[in-house]
Symmetry: C2
Subunit: 113 residues, 2 copies
């Protein structure tokens, strides 16, 4: 089966479908360190990565930011000394699209790249 990180990101436009519970149940095991949170009623995916200092955190933010900008699906990146929190959701549909899960998996794969 194709790994989550290798799946194609679909364009997420207004009216695109939210990820179904069945899709979520299938994808979450591939991103075990991510948490689904609800923020003002909007489902989001988040993971906090631990890095060894500020420079490492900033370097990771840059990698994630460049990946996201290439794909055109942009997270919130919270950079601090020794850690980066990444939050994905799809603003246009006010929730989680399959693309958010794919981006989470791709972000994980940047950690040791």
């Amino acid at each position: 089966m194709t790994q989550l990180k290798d799946r194609e990101c679909e364009a997420c436009c207004k009216g695109a479908p939210l990820a179904t519970q069945e899709e979520i149940d299938e994808m979450m095991p591939e991103i075990p360190d991510w948490e689904m949170i609800e923020d003002d009623g909007i489902k989001k995916l988040t993971r906090t990565y631990t890095l060894s200092n500020f420079a490492e955190a900033l370097a990771f933010t840059i990698k994630v930011g460049e990946l996201a900008d290439d794909v055109g699906h942009h997270p919130t990146l919270i950079t601090e000394w020794g850690r980066v929190q990444v939050i994905f959701f799809s603003k246009k549909i006010q929730g989680l699209h399959v693309t958010d899960f794919i981006m989470a998996a791709r972000t994980d794969s940047l950690l040791n790249s």
Copy 2:
């Protein structure tokens, strides 16, 4: 008078003094777009910069991050499409040190550099 951004950053170690009200009243007018907030009882300085897209926001985050790492006084940087929120405070003294105000002024000066 030396501009705030050109003042020397003092090392902020445990036991260093919090900025006094007199110092705050003197420095705030030099950083008029910054807001003093209280987060869990800890005073912090924050400003949200508006940029034109994600790439510009990431580029600004990198500039601020590199400046901060050179000085050794690290903010929280929240990067999103079209904006970057910067938060400074001094963890070691759980509040605001003069260095936080100097760093805020230097961050402002990066905007059009």
